[in-house]
């Protein structure tokens, strides 16, 4: 029996686009953890090193890794370009909205309108509820800004990467 007649075991997805089976398997395992780590970096941006920009980059890297490992269709099924563009605009508008609420709340654009007051009943209530420094719920509007910036950065980077990956220029210099 020669080697040519031995039927190789069918590898699941061996004929799919993308990178090798090793990369695809590892990606299938770690993609959720990378996404979770990005969310952690965003949510704890006001307590630990990190924040909206770096967390957003990690979040977009999840989708870029999906696209590299499984091909374009798989990543675009998770996050189509129109939806990414919409989320991008939502992130920008949300950031502006939080800043504008400060304008209406106290007359100053970008004011920290959720900050715990320095003294009074409200301050003691906040301390009782656990809204104090070094806790997740602290720093007023800063976590909100982080969330919007993360949404914006994640979708922006994904959009730019996807559009550059989808761009095909033929020999005469015309876009296909």
């Amino acid at each position: 029996m020669s080697d040519a007649t031995i039927k190789r075991p069918a590898v699941r997805g061996a004929d799919q686009p993308g990178l090798s089976i090793i990369v695809r398997t590892v990606t299938r395992w770690v993609k959720s953890f990378i996404f979770l780590f990005g969310i952690y970096i965003v949510c704890f941006g006001h307590l630990t090193p990190g924040g909206g920009f770096s967390g957003g980059v990690i979040l977009s890297c999840t989708f870029i890794l999906l696209m590299l490992a499984f091909g374009r269709e798989r990543a675009l099924r998770q996050l189509p370009v129109p939806r990414a563009a919409m989320l991008d605009s939502v992130g920008a508008l949300g950031f502006l909205a939080v800043a504008t609420i400060g304008l209406f709340a106290s007359g100053v654009f970008f004011v920290n309108w959720l900050a715990v007051p320095a003294a009074g009943v409200l301050q003691r209530l906040c301390v009782l509820l656990g809204v104090q420094p070094f806790h997740l719920l602290s720093a007023g509007t800063l976590p909100l800004y982080n969330l919007w910036i993360a949404l914006k950065v994640a979708t922006s980077l994904f959009l730019v990467f996807t559009l550059l990956a989808m761009l095909r220029v033929n020999y005469r210099g015309e876009k296909e």
Binding site: G51, A85, Q132, P133, A139, G140, I149, L159, L163, K175
Partner: protein
């Protein structure tokens, strides 16, 4: 001439340059007009006492301008040989020498490594940020307090730049054109 008049003059220059860049039919002229817009912004940043932004603006502008000019010129660049190459080399060496002289004068004023000047100046803004970040904002991460609270406008500007970049990418790199090929621009 006070700073407001100067800013208005430069802004008018920038707006005129941008309008000419949009309206001119020749692509190369449009790119060069875009260069004047960037130069205007660089000068404006310098006069508004933001030399770091001015340097960034200048570097990005020069790179973009070179790429855009290279993209708009159809034919290939002619090769530079002989005396012109030697002349270019001399100019480059002279510029490098001037930069090295400037560095020799500038670097000793920086202070020791790990001991920046703003750490010694008591009224420097960074001292205030470090001392008051926790009390003012309640954020344990002083960097987050600076970029999202003390310098929120800076972050808003960065987000705007990112947004503009994505709008440009979506507009330029879209797979199918919005207009039919036989339709011409007005």
């Amino acid at each position: 001439m006070n700073i407001e008049t100067l800013a208005i003059v430069i802004l008018v220059f920038i707006i005129v340059g941008a309008l000419v860049a949009i309206e001119t039919p020749d692509l190369l002229s449009a790119v060069i007009c875009l260069g004047t817009v960037d130069i205007g912004f660089t000068i404006l940043f310098l006069f508004l006492k933001a030399p770091d932004i001015a340097i960034t603006q200048m570097v990005v502008e020069v790179v973009c301008l070179v790429i855009l000019i290279r993209a708009t010129i159809r034919r290939d660049m002619t090769l530079v040989t002989g005396e012109r190459q030697f002349f270019g080399l001399m100019v480059m060496l002279a510029i490098l020498g001037i930069l090295a002289l400037a560095l020799v004068r500038i670097v000793p004023n920086f202070g020791a490594f790990g001991d920046p000047i703003f750490a010694r100046a008591a009224q420097a803004p960074s001292q205030r940020y470090l001392a008051g970040a926790l009390k003012d904002t309640g954020a344990a991460n002083a960097v987050a307090a600076v970029i999202l609270d003390y310098r929120g406008y800076d972050t808003l500007g960065e987000a705007t730049i990112l947004f503009a970049a994505v709008v440009g990418a979506v507009a330029l790199l879209r797979p199918k054109p919005r207009k039919r090929p036989e339709e011409r621009d007005a």
